[in-house]
Amino acid sequence: MTIRHQIEFETVFFLLVAIFLAGFFVWRSNQNLQNNLYAATPIISEGNTPKIIVPTLNPILKIETASQISPDGTKKLTMEKTHNRDKTVSYVFTTSDGDGNNPHEVYTTQLSGSEDLSLPFNTWSPDNKYVFIQKNEDNALVFKATGEPITNTATFFDIQDSFKEKDKKNVPSVTTGWASETLLIVNTIKEDGTKGPSYWFEVPGKAIMQLSSNF
């Protein structure tokens, strides 16, 4: 190979390297743009957490009467809570039209002071056929909105009991809301206390389906 050939070879090599590098930078640059378009959820280091108040989704209502409107505004679930002299608490849950007409009593019960019922934000199913009520912090009770029994043999479904019946090892920790007209989303904890998978709880079939992603 002559010196001239060697010089030409080197020049071509340098040019190819330059073109390759430029292409790489174009690719990287576009990737950065894509990342910006799909902005990532922030990872906040400990000690650097902005102090903000994040409201709870499932407030435990301390007031005597509370209500939750359905997503379309046409229905309303009302809770009346009465503190009795024997330190028990009586609850009456009633569904009605949004303006309060056409009431149906859904559930009446009396609990000890250590137990609690409350109305979650996502209480109504999307088609307004079912409602769920939060019991304590980790359980939920599911009712038909008309006040009729949910099946021929049961007035309502108890999520905790349903998981026990199906012999699930994970225990419900919170019921977040409705994934569809008949599917409730239930988060769980494992036996060792760590976060378990999320499930769909199907109404009225009581089927429990494990989900691939957590809510």
């Binding site: 080197e10 020049t11 340098f14 430029a22 378009l37 799909y38 934000f121 999307p126 994934a179 599917l183």
Partner: protein, 245 residues
């Protein structure tokens, strides 16, 4: 004498050769940078990444108002009952949100961390509610303006078990391409991510916001929508890698 002359010649030859080599490499490196720069500029100009879509099937073709009463929706493999829309009811339900508040710039903040939406008129908060932002695609972070309002439209996208096709999506307020605020009748899991990039709200909340929000008119932009990673109070909206910074 002859030896000394030969030595001088050799030195001169080596010096010339070295000088030529330096020039050669200088030229080559310069040329490489020049060509590399040209390729980069050309690549950036011609290989622009496609704009993402919240609704992969309908974002290019269906950003128009559509009312399809009687149609059937599909979401996560299940048929969904589609609520009918009767525009006569819209006329009889006057907008009330913010009417008793003093004037001021309207501004919507979406807090992705707490999954909440805040609507402000001036310094007054007129609405606060839970929303569902992107789960299958991320909701774009940044500051935008509502560029169009549609009373109802069809949204579709995804594939396989993720396929969805939803007519009569109510109260749509697009703020960035086909990413928008809108009502969602197919789920009630607000406060948790549930969308393909849009901001889902209860239809009752979406309707109230829809009547209050301004679209673009008379050359002025629509209401500002700020999507924040974290929001604490007006003008304190933490945004990581906003797309329009």
């Amino acid at each position: 004498m002859a030896k000394r002359s030969h030595s001088k010649k050799t030195k001169k030859s080596l010096s010339n050769s070295w000088s030529k080599t330096v020039r050669h490499y200088f030229r080559t490196v310069f040329l490489s940078f020049f060509v590399g720069g040209l390729v980069f500029v050309w690549g950036k100009y011609f290989f622009i990444p496609a704009t993402p879509c919240a609704n992969s099937l309908s974002c290019e073709s269906d950003l128009v108002e559509k009312i399809e009463n009687g149609a059937v929706g599909v979401f996560q493999g299940n048929n969904v009952k589609v609520p009918e829309i009767n525009l006569a009811f819209d006329i009889t339900n006057p907008s009330v949100l913010g009417t008793n508040e003093p004037g001021g710039e309207k501004h919507i903040y979406v807090d992705l961390a707490s999954q909440k939406l805040y609507a402000y008129q001036g310094d007054t908060k007129i609405l606060e509610t839970f929303i569902s932002s992107g789960r299958w695609n991320r909701t774009p972070v940044g500051n935008f303006h509502v560029w169009t309002k549609l009373r109802s439209t069809r949204m579709s996208g995804g594939s396989g078990t993720d396929y969805y096709n939803l007519p009569n999506v109510p109260y749509v307020m697009y703020f960035y391409h086909d990413f928008g605020l809108h009502g969602a009748y197919w789920h009630n899991n607000f406060g948790h991510t549930m969308s393909h990039g849009c901001v889902n709200m209860r239809p009752i909340d979406a309707g109230a916001i829809f009547d209050w929000v301004d679209g673009p008119k008379n050359g002025e932009k629509g209401t500002i929508v700020s999507i924040c990673n974290r929001f604490t109070e007006p003008n304190i909206c933490e945004q990581n890698n906003p797309i329009n910074s």
